[in-house]
Symmetry: C2
Subunit: 367 residues, 2 copies
C-alpha cells in the first residue's frame, strides 16, 4: 500500500512539475505573440504613418505590463493607465502654470513642482497600503508628471503629445489584454484556490509522516514531507500577492466577482500556525522515541493524529471542489471523539484539537 | 522591574517607529533632489542643446532605478545598464541583418527575431535563479532589443540613436548614484544586520512572555510578544531580498565586500524554526496551566526557559556589536547545565536544548 502511495505521489509531483513548465512555455509564447503584434505598428506602413515614433510607447507598455497571471497584468495595466492619466493631467497643469511666469520663472516653477510632487508621491509609495496595490501606478504617475511638466517647457504642443502617447499606450494595453486573457489565460485566483487546497493535503501527509513508525521509514522520505510542511509556512507572501492579483480578475470559471479572496488568506494563516504545531510535534515525537518514553499514550495519540490527517484531507478536498463539506456530518462526531480522547489523556496534544476546531469553523464559514 | 522594562520597550518601539518614518522622509527628499537634478537637462539651455529629446531617458532612469536602499538602487542600475547594452547590441545586429534582405523580407526577419528573443528571454525570467537577481535586467534587455530592432527598420542611424540613449541613461544613473549613495545612504546590509540581531531579542522576550506567570499578566501584553514572534517567522522573504541587495553594496561601515550575507539567511532560518517552537511551547504552557497539570516540572522548566532567553539576548547582542561572543565562556557552562537539567527531566522540552546548541554553533561560526 505504501509503495503504491509513493508511486502515486511521484506521478503527481512530476505531473505538477511538467504542468508548471508547460505554463511557463505558454506564457513565453504569449509574450512573443504580443511583441510581434505590437511591432506591427512599426512594421506596417499604414499603421506607422498613423502613430509615428510614439509606437515606442506601445512596445514599452507590452514589455512592462505583460505578467504571468491575468490578475497581475490587469493590475499593472490599470495602474499604468490611471497613473499616466493623472500624471499627464497634473503635468499639463504645471506646464501651463509655469508658462504664465515665462523666462527664468518658468524653470523655477517647473523645478519646484517636480520636487514637491516627487517627494509627496515617493512618500506615499512607502505607505504599506498604497505600496501593496498601487505601487506601480504611483511610479508611473511620477514618471509621466515629470516628462510632461519638463517637456512642456520646450514643446508648446504638450497636450497633443500627451494624447498621442496615451492612445499608443492604450493600443499596447489592448494587445496585452487580448493575448493574456484570451489565449490560455493563467488566473491567479485558480492558483490561490489550488494551492490552498493542496496545503491541507501537505499538512495531512506531514502529520502522518511524523506519526508513522515502520522500521523502514526512510529519513529522506520524512525529510521531503517536512519540507512540504515548511513550504506551507513560508507561503505568506506568495499567498498575499496571489490574493491581491485575484481581486483584479474578472468573473471566470467558478469564481465570481465578489469571491471571498480574503478568506483564503485567513485560512492560510490558520494553516501556517497548524504547520508550525505539526513541525514541533514531529520533533517532540522523535525525541520521545529516542528516549523510549511515554509508550502508554502513544497509541491513542497516533489514532488522534491519523483522524486529524483524515479530516484535513477531507477539508482540503471539499475546498478544492467547492462543495459544502460533504463530510460535515462525518467530521463532527470524529472531532467529538477526539475531544473525549484528549480530555481523557489530558496531554499537551490538546492544542491540536483546539486548532482543528478553529480550522473547521473557518472552512464551514467559507462554504 | 517589569514596569521599567515595559516603559523601556515602548520608548524603543517609538524610537524605532520615528526612525523608520524619518528614513522614509529622507528617502522621499532624496528622490525629489534627484528628479530636480535630472530635470536640469531640460531646463538649462546649454545642457538641452547637448542631449536634446533624449533627456527623457535620463528622467525615466532616475524614476525607475531610484530605490529605498543603496543595494537595491545599484542592483537595478547595473541590471538596467547591462540589459540596455546587450539588448541594444543584439538589436543592432538584428536590424543590420534584416537590412540585408530588404523589402518585405526585412519586416519578416525583424518579426521573427522579435518573437524568438522575446520567447527565450521571457522563459529565462521564469527561472528562479535568474528571476531573483537579474529579473529587471532581462526585462530591459527585451525592451531595448525590441525598440532598437524595430526602429532599425525606419531609422538608418540606429547606432547613433543607441549611443545617445545610452549616454543619457548613464547620466540618469550617475544622478541616482550620487544622491542615493552620498546623501544619507540607507544600506540594505545594515538593515539586515540590525533585524537579525533584533530577532534574537524578540524571541527572548516572547519566550519570557510565555513562561512568566503573574496574576496581572495582561493578555494584550502577551499578544504583542506573540505578534513579535510571528513577525520573526514571516521574515523569510524580507530577509532574502535584503541579503540580495546587500550583496550589491560596496564596502561601508563594518561590512566588507565579502561579508557573509548568506550566513544571515541561515541564522534567520534557524531562528524561524525556533520561533515556531516557542509559539507552540506557549500554547502548551497555556493549556497545561488551564488543566492545572504538571506543576512538578514547571519550576525547572521555567529556569531553563529563562536561561535560554538570557542566552538568546547575549547572542543577539554579540551579533549586533559584531564581537566574538563575549559570553562564550559563560554560555557554554549554562548550556551544559541546561542539558543536565533536561536529561534529568527527560521532558519534551529537550528539543529546545538541541535547537539552541545548533544556534550557538551557527553564531560562533559567524564570528
Amino acid at each position: 500500500f505504501l509503495s503504491t502511495c509513493s508511486v502515486a505521489f511521484r506521478v503527481i509531483q512530476e505531473k505538477r512539475c511538467s504542468r508548471g513548465s508547460m505554463r511557463k512555455v505558454i506564457h513565453s509564447v504569449k509574450v512573443g505573440i504580443a511583441l510581434v503584434l505590437v511591432s506591427l505598428l512599426y512594421l506596417l506602413d499604414p499603421l506607422f504613418t498613423e502613430v509615428g515614433e510614439n509606437a515606442m510607447w506601445a512596445i514599452m507598455t507590452v514589455v512592462v505590463v505583460f505578467e504571468f497571471s491575468a490578475g497581475a497584468t490587469l493590475s499593472k495595466g490599470i495602474n499604468r493607465a490611471i497613473g499616466t492619466i493623472l500624471g499627464g493631467g497634473l503635468g499639463c497643469l504645471a506646464a501651463i502654470l509655469a508658462d504664465e511666469f515665462g523666462g527664468i520663472g518658468n524653470a523655477i516653477v517647473v523645478g519646484a513642482s517636480v520636487f514637491i510632487v516627487g517627494v509627496a508621491a515617493t512618500y506615499s509609495r512607502l505607505v504599506p497600503r498604497i505600496k501593496r496595490r498601487y505601487d506601480y501606478g504611483v511610479l508611473i504617475f511620477i514618471l509621466t508628471f515629470n516628462l510632461v511638466a519638463v517637456s512642456g517647457v520646450r514643446a508648446d504642443k504638450v497636450i497633443r503629445l500627451a494624447k498621442q502617447r496615451l492612445s499608443t499606450i492604450g493600443m499596447g494595453f489592448a494587445v496585452c489584454i487580448f493575448t493574456n486573457l484570451l489565449i490560455f489565460p493563467i488566473w491567479a485566483g485558480d492558483e490561490l484556490h489550488r494551492s490552498t487546497a493542496a496545503k491541507f493535503d501537505k499538512l495531512a501527509r506531514c502529520l502522518e509522516g511524523c506519526l508513522e513508525e515502520e522500521p523502514n521509514n526512510k529519513a529522506e522520505n520524512l525529510g521531503a514531507k517536512v519540507k512540504d510542511c515548511k513550504s506551507v509556512f513560508h507561503s505568506k507572501s506568495t499567498d498575499e500577492s496571489l490574493a491581491n492579483f485575484a481581486k483584479w480578475e474578472p468573473w471566470h470559471g467558478k469564481f465570481g466577482l465578489s469571491h471571498p479572496w480574503d478568506m483564503y488568506l485567513e485560512t492560510g494563516e490558520v494553516l501556517r500556525e497548524l504547520a508550525a504545531l505539526i513541525l514541533s510535534l514531529g520533533v517532540c515525537v522523535q525525541s520521545s522515541r529516542q528516549l523510549h518514553q511515554a509508550t502508554a499514550i502513544r497509541e491513542p495519540c497516533e489514532i488522534i493524529g491519523l483522524s486529524l490527517a483524515w479530516i484535513l484531507r477531507e477539508l482540503g478536498e471539499s475546498i478544492f471542489n467547492m462543495t459544502r463539506c460533504r463530510a460535515k456530518a462525518l467530521i463532527a462526531p470524529k472531532l467529538e471523539f477526539i475531544k473525549q480522547e484528549l480530555s481523557r489523556l489530558g496531554s499537551s496534544l490538546q492544542i491540536k484539537g483546539l486548532e482543528k476546531d478553529e480550522n473547521l469553523a473557518m472552512a464551514t464559514f467559507i462554504f
